[in-house]
């Protein structure tokens, strides 16, 4: 089989499953940012702007919205990399079925990563549209927030697939949410500048891909990021993604090719 054919067929499988839920899923992808930006950006943001004149010299809504796109992609990636993947490994065993065909374990991983990318694209594009409607990011460059956010999500997708490949039940997923995703969401620079954190937490935050992804998305939307900073903010998530990919492949091999 041609190198990418197996990967394409794994994506097609996901499309077939998604066909049943796409309407609801796209509606959620539109209304979630609408409520978030209205409540946090306009409502809470109004207070912030009146008391301190915005954050880092821009209105709170402008500060908040781009980072939320990256954070939304991380949440989408995390969910897609947990339950559906574990179901295919051990509950429904559909990976076992696929591996009885010319499809390989590498095809499975590549296909899932491509699919998660497509899911994140839908989420990020809808979010960008809502942000635009709220009057933020009226520049061509602000569209770069979409790939920046997808990259941030990918930095979580492959390490979480690797984690899922080791699971015998879904208990660990709640822990990942509670101890990784939510703390990062709250403290990773999305809602307030990382510089406001105690120094130790600042160091910790900058070691994670979310802080860099948020900084990158915000930078391209506000048009105030230098090329060298942008390169660093892209390199960190990319490194997490690449390392996760290698480890996920090795762990899935161990799990499925016994």
């Amino acid at each position: 089989m041609a190198l990418m054919a197996g990967t394409l067929h794994v994506v097609e499988y996901n499309v077939l499953v998604f066909r049943r839920i796409w309407r609801g899923s796209i509606a959620v992808s539109f209304f979630t940012p609408l409520f978030f930006l209205a409540a946090m950006g306009v409502g809470l943001g109004g207070l912030v702007n009146r008391s301190s004149g915005g954050v880092n010299g821009v209105p709170y809504l402008d500060f908040l919205a781009p980072g939320l796109i990256a954070a939304a992609c991380v949440q989408t990636a995390a969910i897609e990399a947990m339950y559906p993947i574990l179901a295919r490994i051990m509950w429904d065993k559909t990976y076992e079925a696929a591996l009885a065909t010319p499809v390989t374990i590498s095809d499975l991983i590549r296909g899932e990563v491509v699919w998660i990318t497509i899911r994140m694209f839908i989420v990020a594009a809808m979010f960008w549209l809502v942000m635009y409607l709220f009057g933020v990011g009226h520049s061509l460059a602000s569209l770069l927030a979409i790939p920046a956010s997808i990259l941030t999500g990918l930095a979580f997708a492959t390490p979480i697939i690797a984690f899922t490949a080791t699971r015998r039940n879904d208990n660990g997923f709640a822990a990942i949410n509670r101890f990784v995703i939510i703390p990062l969401y709250l403290l990773g620079g999305t809602f307030f500048p990382i510089a406001k954190l105690p120094l130790a937490l600042q160091v910790l935050a900058w070691a994670t891909p979310l802080a860099h992804g948020v900084a990158l998305a915000r930078g391209v939307v506000l048009g105030n990021v230098s090329a060298s900073d942008a390169a660093l903010h892209a390199a960190v998530p990319l490194a997490y993604f690449a390392a996760g990919l290698i480890i996920a492949r090795a762990l899935l091999m161990k799990r499925l090719a016994k």
Binding site: L16, T94, E96, A97, A98, A100, T101, P102, T104, K258
Partner: protein, 310 residues
């Protein structure tokens, strides 16, 4: 059997999981067009052998070729020509009956159009056409099994691997599966199956190996194995529970071989009716006495001292 005719060739084939040896230096060959069986109890190494043939599980040591190819190097090429019916259903519960076949056809790189054509043809073959739009959840166990078989046939495989194809099915559903497998065999599809049902092995297999504790205990056609390891007839006697231990060897000279099981005594003999008469002449009064032909169950008992289904 010449090598060029062998679809599968195994020499000293071994599979270990840590300290556990699941398959221990077994030799076998499967010829084109044959229906070949692995008969043995659970844990004998049948599934491990099947997974190695399917190119999913790496060989620990020994030689294994399928279509003359090494599964470690040509896995996808081999699997493109194989059909696999796994022991546990791996159907996709999120998709409909027909979608399960369609996506599988894509995994084999068939076009959507060709996949649709084959899916409809196969749903007819396994008598599930009316259920094609249903979710898999709604099917009975026998229907799921037939759908799994249809799915395994989507690439028109030369070789079909079936791991315990009818375990857990009711008698009617089993006969329907056997009938479909028999038709495939008639079309020239090579069948390799594992089973712990001796009647399944006798129904379907031209040739089989008896596996026990990771090794092959015997090999031949069902008829040959029965001739070699058992007598023509078997007399089964049931005694009242407290009397059976008291028999204490006094039937020994009435048959070529005797097996004392917890609930009955088996007398292996060429002439069962004559053996009954002899038992009665001794003044023994069994509660029931049944003369039957030898089966593979008797072969297994002879080879291992245990029955197939514990």
């Amino acid at each position: 059997m010449s090598d060029s005719n062998s679809l599968i060739l195994a020499r000293q084939l071994t599979k270990r999981f840590g300290d556990l040896t699941a398959v221990d230096t077994i030799d076998f060959e499967v010829a084109k067009g044959e229906a070949f069986g692995f008969l043995g109890p659970n844990g004998a190494g049948k599934t491990s052998t099947m997974r190695m043939i399917g190119g999913v599980s790496p060989v620990t040591s020994g030689l294994l070729t399928i279509f003359g190819l090494d599964p470690a190097r040509h896995g996808p090429t081999i699997r493109a020509r194989l059909g696999v019916v796994p022991q546990a259903d791996t159907l996709d519960l999120e998709l409909t009956v027909r979608e399960n076949l369609m996506i599988y056809s894509r995994y084999f790189d068939l076009s959507w159009r060709e996949g649709a054509r084959r899916a409809d043809e196969l749903l007819e073959f396994v008598q599930l056409k009316e259920r094609s739009k249903d979710k898999v959840d709604e099917l009975s166990g026998g229907m799921k099994r037939r759908l799994t078989i249809a799915r395994a046939l989507i690439n028109s495989p030369e070789l079909l691997l079936l791991d315990e194809p009818t375990t857990g099915l009711d008698p009617q559903a089993r006969h329907l599966v056997w009938d479909r497998l028999y038709r495939l065999k008639q079309r020239g599809v090579t069948l390799v199956l594992t089973t712990h049902y001796m009647d399944e092995a006798e129904q379907l297999c031209d040739r089989l190996v008896v596996m026990d504790k990771a090794r092959i205990a015997a090999e031949g056609s069902p008829r040959e194995l029965i001739d070699r390891y058992s007598t023509r007839e078997v007399l089964e006697l049931r005694f009242p529970i407290d009397e059976q231990p008291a028999l204490d060897g006094n039937l020994n000279d009435l048959a070529e071989r005797i097996e004392v099981l917890p609930d009955r005594v088996l007398l292996y003999t060429g002439d069962g009716d004559e053996a009954i008469a002899a038992v009665h002449r001794r003044g023994l009064r069994p509660e029931t006495a049944l003369v039957r032909r030898s089966t593979l169950e008797d072969v297994f008992l002879r080879l291992t001292g245990r029955s197939l289904i514990d």
